[in-house]
Symmetry: C2
Subunit: 310 residues, 2 copies
């Protein structure tokens, strides 16, 4: 599982449709963390999150015939917006299945990006049924948010850019939810012999437990503020994570909120709780990172400003 | 009043002590504004605001003997932190006079940057008395936050960098409070034959009225959320503004809050209310900016996250 050439090709393929996002640093943050931190700002990515990369790559890999029939995903989060905007950028129709209880603002955002929203009863079963009905009717291609090799390769391009722009980095951390970003980050790191580590909420530590047990574990509950990280790994990304991720560090909810606030206040950027998780891991285990050059993927900035945890 | 060579020298002088800050753009913001907007992100500047530039330049222009006796300013805002950090970076002692009712968090920030805080009764008279007592005792050099040519030239470097990095820009807007930033921005624009305009809150429109009357006007009240813009112009920056600023556009409080929220939500950056004012001006008068390339100085990002207006 090297995928070196495939990653190069994915990066070349999606470049016209994505931003090469900024990397920010702060002397104060470095002093607090005891290491040099490089924040790869995917909150500045188009539609506000790294998911744009994977969505673009997956759609670009479809044939002309497949594209003509559209694409479909089910999501209440960033992937719904990413598939909608990526599809529109490529002249492809996007069908998005969303739970009926998803916030109106998220449904509106998907529609703004041109996605056709189908609401369903908010259970996994109903979501999958609704998706299948649309596929049967339209022939649309399903794009999984994380367990899809083309999506993984797309997400990998964030770490790839970071490691090209800052060759001194020796460790990269990404949060782990469904596993697409962490698997992609691990591939990009492996190609440059850089350590890759994951950050995960203690309250949804399925990936940590999966690495321990050697099989995909799930969460009975996932009561974490890091709402992008509640899902479990898949059979495509798990083996990559097993092979190439050095360690997953778990953090508590108060540690996530503290790290998020530090980044807001010191870096002056708006980030989602999910991407405060790797920085919280660095703060939690300072001896592991002392004097290292640490890259962190800031995954996105789509937060509801009227519902801040501080 | 050309100051072209002086500005070049100021920029060269302060470069080791400041960040060359990022410039961010957003397709969504451009679509909303009807023009192409370039945000010069001084919220990413050291200590979180452009004032670092002017403070550095003013201190660097002092003689060795003057530096040995320290510097002093009175401020409850960003200039207090800027002078503290600039002085520390240059090995100079900083005395900061702050009103006793300034928030504890601001006093703590000044002390964190090494400034020696002297509290005074919160009136202009007492503030000036306290400042004079320290000058009499220490011989410290007074640095005015806005009405000082070296401070103005330092602030000018933000627009200078912006216009070097993006030669297509044809208009630059800055907010106007004490007038240091707007005067500096006007000089940098004039050197490149670019239009310079100001944005000002209707609730503190002293600069607008000063341009109308031809003399420095003051505000009887200044009940604006843009707390950095409540002060009036000075005799050094006013003539520069008179000569080189094309127009000052006034905006209402709700327009400021709307513009601020748009930037937070769409750009994913944390900005002070003061620097939402020029963007609010662009949104208010779209015909003036239609299809233009508009630079906006984002002045700073030091906000209290627990007191947001939305």
């Amino acid at each position: 599982m090297l995928y070196k050439k495939e990653l190069e090709e994915a990066h070349f393929r999606i470049s016209p449709y994505i931003h090469r996002t900024e990397v920010l640093q702060s002397q104060l943050i470095n002093a607090i963390a005891g290491c040099e931190v490089f924040f790869k700002c995917e909150n500045f990515q188009r539609m506000g999150a790294f998911k744009m990369r994977g969505a673009c790559n997956a759609i670009l890999q479809l044939t002309e015939e497949e594209r003509a029939q559209g694409v479909i995903t089910h999501s209440s989060g960033n992937m719904a917006q990413a598939v909608s905007l990526a599809a529109r950028s490529l002249g492809v129709k996007a069908y998005i299945v969303m739970p009926s209880n998803a916030p109106d603002v998220k449904k509106a955002a998907v529609r703004d990006y041109g996605g056709e929203v189908t609401e369903c009863i908010p259970t996994i079963e109903e979501r999958e049924k609704a998706t299948q009905r649309i596929i049967d009717r339209t022939g649309a291609s399903f794009i999984h948010p994380s367990n899809d090799l083309q999506v993984i390769l797309g997400q990998a391009t964030a770490a790839k850019e970071l490691l090209i722009d800052y060759t001194e980095i020796d460790t990269v951390l990404a949060p782990v939810g469904g596993g697409g970003l962490l698997a992609g980050t691990a591939l990009a790191c492996m190609h440059r012999a850089v350590d890759c580590m994951g950050g995960e909420p203690m309250e949804a530590d399925d990936a940590y437990r999966s690495l321990m047990s050697g099989k995909i574990e799930k969460n009975d509950t996932a009561e974490t503020i890091a709402d992008g990280l509640r899902t479990h790994l898949g059979h495509i990304n798990f083996p990559i994570i097993q092979e190439h991720v050095k360690e997953i560090i778990r953090v508590e909810e108060n540690e996530i909120i503290h790290a998020m606030r530090l980044i807001w206040e010191r870096m002056k950027i708006i980030i989602e709780p999910s991407c405060a998780v790797p920085f919280a891991a660095v703060l939690k285990e300072p001896t592991k990172f002392k004097d290292r050059k640490v890259g962190i993927i800031i995954t996105g900035g789509n937060v509801d400003l009227s519902k801040l945890p501080f």
